[in-house]
Point group: C2
Chain length 183, copies 2
């Protein structure tokens, strides 16, 4: 379990409310660690009780007050310790791979339906790649990184870009294979 750690990193990069965190998880960090707002609020409460983070009340005109969370020294120590732990093997859950193998056990119409669905899925990933590339142009225009933080954020983004490119190429392979099945 590491939602806590993803939140610590996100709050160190920029303090913010639960609501803001939920949105960041939809955009930046969330590409590598997803979470819903309900889960984030619950974990924030626990982390606050454990003293890893503290909240500061921020009054806002015309909007509900928010609680801006930031990381405490004990919270920072928790993160440092976690960084030294072994990286766990990822728990892979690739639904599409299961469906592709399952396509051997359905009829021709089912295979065609899957083909259409794969094409739609491919378009989604193409959009994600375009978003990553736009983000890269915006946030990392130069060749030399501004500082350590930027260099590390950039290499993670490059990982996302490489992943999406690999997925697109594989989906083309899948589409060609589905088209080439006996019929």
């Amino acid at each position: 379990m590491a939602l806590e750690h993803a939140i610590l990193v996100s709050l160190l990069e920029q303090p913010g409310s639960g609501y803001e965190l939920a949105h960041r998880f939809d955009r930046s960090i969330g590409r590598f660690w997803t979470a819903t707002h309900q889960q984030i609020y619950r974990v924030l409460g626990r982390m606050g009780a454990d003293g890893w983070i503290t909240a500061e009340q921020v009054d806002q005109r015309g909007r509900p007050d928010k609680r801006r969370w930031s990381v405490t020294d004990p919270g920072r120590a928790v993160l440092t310790d976690w960084l030294r732990e072994e990286v766990q093997p990822e728990a892979v859950r690739h639904e599409l791979a299961v469906k592709v193998r399952g396509a051997a056990f359905t009829d021709r119409a089912g295979q065609v339906a899957l083909l259409v669905e794969v094409a739609r899925y491919r378009a989604d990933h193409e959009a994600v790649l375009a978003r990553y590339l736009a983000g890269e142009r915006r946030d990392f225009p130069g060749t030399v990184p501004a500082d350590d933080r930027a260099a590390l954020q950039h290499v993670v983004l490059r990982g996302g870009i490489a992943y999406e490119r690999m997925v697109l190429a594989w989906l083309d392979d899948v589409l060609a294979t589905l088209r080439g099945l006996d019929h």
Copy 2:
């Protein structure tokens, strides 16, 4: 939720016991859908109660009896229906990406420790790739697939191979970035 469906596909490819399924999930299917044996037994029980699969008692000399599960017609229909559903976006949980961004908030010693850990992690993925390539040479030696099932299994395996190659290249990028941090 789709462990049920992964089990249906695996049992259609080859009927077997819970124990055998757990091992397949460690090897073949498990590269794309992980599960522990406890979870598999529980889900097999539910699927049996729902009539998706049936068990046949197999007596074995010198070993505990086992229950060989196979898919029923209703189970096959469940799989067919599921194949027609939308592919859900994957819930990404990439611990290493979080750690890499977190490396901006630790000291030099912590960054070096992470570098060592990334190198170890890279060796694991190199071993996985070698296993995939060996499996490909063994199971798909020819250029023309034997049948639909083989063609689909092969394209999924090619996806695993492409994924591992992408990961290795990205890890090299990460290692270079960690080495190049200010110090």
